[in-house]
């Protein structure tokens, strides 16, 4: 069994851009989840971030907020989502993205134990900063599940060292000061920031928040190892634009 770090590093070695697709579990009904995962895998994504719907998603912009509300209106909960993931057969790694409250509510230990027979190889918990990662990290080591560190544009240099060392999976480089969601422009220094980050860490660096066009994918893949694409995919899936999405993802995966 390969770890998330090993799987993504294979891509890095082959100089292929890593494309991580974000979806909201339960948007359109939980039964659609395995099918959507299969669809994304078929179209060349490297990993899938499974978003868990939450009532108060402060890191998310309007598209993912709405998707979360749609999922919640279907009464989807974290336990059911994990149960569903236990039935999923996929060759690409899954990463769960959830606010800490939902894990804490289930009990951190219970939650992590329940991931045993799933393809989940990583966790992203946006509101669990480095200072509080002991709530989760000690329980992950035995299980080869990565706790993905987020680095923001405002993280000072020394802090970046501190929060990324000894971590696994990839570095989630947040590209904007703000919430998730489609953007037309990024800060002037973004490429420099990503390149510097890439130089200073040992894990694959993926740019996320606002990535929505092939130009973005190209721009970021040149300076780091790939991207996370969220709101755009969530919106296209919701609006039933599967053909267009398939084209977009295949094109992104084949950029060099």
């Amino acid at each position: 069994m390969k770890t998330l770090t090993q799987i993504l590093n294979q891509k890095v070695e082959k100089k292929e851009p890593i494309i991580v697709a974000y979806i909201m579990a339960g948007d359109g009904g939980l039964d659609k989840l395995p099918e959507t995962i299969q669809f994304l895998e078929d179209n060349g994504v490297s990993a899938i971030e499974i978003g868990i719907p939450f009532s108060d998603p402060v890191a998310d912009g309007p598209v993912i907020q709405q998707a979360g509300l749609r999922a919640l209106s279907q009464k989807v909960n974290l336990e059911q989502i994990v149960e569903k993931l236990q039935t999923v057969k996929t060759t690409i790694p899954l990463v769960i993205m959830t606010y800490f409250q939902l894990i804490f509510h289930l009990g951190v230990e219970n939650f992590i134990a329940s991931l045993e027979n799933t393809p989940v190889k990583g966790l992203i918990i946006p509101d669990l900063p480095y200072e509080h990662q002991d709530f989760v990290l000690p329980l992950l080591h035995k299980r080869d599940i990565a706790l993905v560190p987020l680095v923001s544009l405002t993280s000072p240099k020394e802090r970046i060292q501190q929060i990324t060392q000894n971590m696994e999976g990839f570095i989630y480089a947040v590209t904007v000061n703000g919430t998730t969601g489609t953007r037309n422009t990024f800060g002037d220094n973004i490429e420099e920031h990503l390149a510097e980050l890439k130089q200073n860490v040992n894990l694959p660096v993926l740019a996320g928040f606002g990535v929505s066009t092939l130009e973005h994918v190209q721009q970021f893949s040149k300076v780091c190892d790939g991207v996370v694409i969220g709101s755009k995919i969530v919106r296209m899936l919701h609006e039933g634009q599967k053909d267009e999405l398939a084209k977009f993802l295949s094109a992104a995966a084949n950029l060099r």
Partner: protein, 400 residues
């Protein structure tokens, strides 16, 4: 052992902390740094004291409510008159302190959330005073309920953003204020209005509001030659209660009562009583007692009083409850409205609906205490903002 909280990670026992995204981390660390320096800087303390005295109008009276005492028939009741502050509530104690911190950090813009609009008005006021750009997020439902306060903020030069996410109330306004803060982190300070949010906010707000308890303690000692047997304050997030309680923390003989909003009743499903009905969880950057459903999703709170309408509670209150240092009780909408009218008629004071919850419980408590004992109620705000709502309600019930 002397009470010492929070610890260096911002925890009060197992409550509190700073559960925020990495994008906010630098800002909260910067704030903590600025606050530690300010605490040690006599100039900052002098400036804060100056504005509290000359601008806010402190100290506020500790008023012996003789008529109310007679009405209840028991312990002597004192009212700490935070309603007499500039802008009509205790909220400005904190906004003065925080805008002085913002100035020291070189921030030019202010963002805040508001429920009833009292904190929004207090923030808009200090933003005007210090010539800073200000934006206040307010739930669309509250914008409707508290139209007068929206206009007051606009008069003061603040932009009020109506929040149409979620339940359109305070919780959603905080979400939106946090989102705005992340997007404008370089030049903006978030003036959080209660003892909530990521460390160091609960500590900062507690300390700035502690002026209430420090004054009240000295005033009561002077009036009675002893400490009071009880303190009573309403609790939404819990800032006026913490402000009153904290300076009495080591006075073990002084009992503390925090009064939560029971809305339509604790068995009704419609309440804002996070300590009575919530469970430990994380909301808006802190671990505390939170109203949540069986899946851990945060529930909407319900109270007639917009200022108590919040599903969480300051982490230090959760800790006080665990330690048994304070007792947490509740009052329903109905009890608050009755107490509101009682204070109007007995003392000629129109209290805020929030504070009316404290009065409602205090009346019950006073009866159980002998006449040689005394209590302090924090009258956290005045009720002008609530009279339309009370009028509509009493007319509907055919009582007026």
């Amino acid at each position: 052992m002397a009470y010492q909280a929070p610890d260096e990670k911002g925890f009060y026992g197992s409550y509190g902390g700073r559960f925020v995204s990495e994008s906010l981390m630098n800002a909260v660390l910067e704030l903590e740094n600025a606050y530690r320096k300010a605490q040690k800087d006599p100039k900052f303390q002098q400036e804060f004291a100056y504005y509290l005295k000359d601008y806010v109008g402190r100290e506020t009276p500790l008023y012996f409510a003789e008529q109310l005492t007679n009405y209840a028939g028991g312990a002597k009741i004192y009212l700490k008159r935070e309603d007499l502050n500039h802008t009509g509530a205790h909220k400005i104690n904190n906004t003065i302190g925080q805008i002085l911190l913002a100035k020291r950090m070189g921030k030019q813009k202010i963002v805040a959330e508001t429920g009833a609009g009292q904190h929004g008005v207090a923030t808009a006021t200090v933003a005007a005073l210090f010539n800073m750009e200000c934006i206040v997020f307010m739930g669309a439902e509250d914008v409707k309920r508290q139209a007068l306060n929206v206009f007051r903020m606009e008069l003061l030069g603040t932009r009020v953003e109506s929040v149409k996410n979620g339940s359109h109330t305070l919780k959603d306004a905080v979400n939106e204020a946090l989102r705005y803060w992340v997007a404008n982190i370089e030049d903006t300070h978030y003036i959080l209005g209660s003892v909530l949010g990521p460390h160091p906010f609960p500590e900062i707000v507690r300390d700035f509001q502690s002026v209430i308890g420090k004054e009240a303690r000295a005033q009561h000692l002077e009036a009675e030659g002893k400490l009071p047997e009880a303190l009573v304050a309403c609790i939404g997030g819990g800032s006026n209660a913490m402000g009153l309680f904290y300076p009495f923390i080591h006075d073990q003989e002084v009992k503390m009562y925090g009064v939560e909003a029971a809305g339509l009743g604790l068995e009704s499903g419609s309440y804002a009583a996070s300590l009575a009905k919530g469970k430990k969880g994380i909301l808006h950057g802190a671990m505390m007692d939170v109203l949540q459903d069986e899946n851990g999703q945060i529930l909407e709170a319900f109270s007639i009083s917009a200022g108590l309408d919040y599903p969480g509670i300051g982490p230090e209150h959760s800790y006080f409850k665990e330690l048994g240092r304070a007792e947490y009780v509740s009052a329903t909408d109905e009890e608050a409205i009755e107490a509101f009218q009682i204070l109007c008629r007995t003392e000629g004071i129109i209290p805020a609906l929030e504070s009316s919850h404290a009065i409602a419980y205090a009346l019950k408590l006073a009866k159980t205490m002998p006449a040689n004992q005394s209590m302090i109620i924090c009258l956290s705000g005045r009720g002008d903002k609530d009279v339309d709502q009370i009028k509509a309600r009493l007319q509907k019930e055919g009582k007026k």
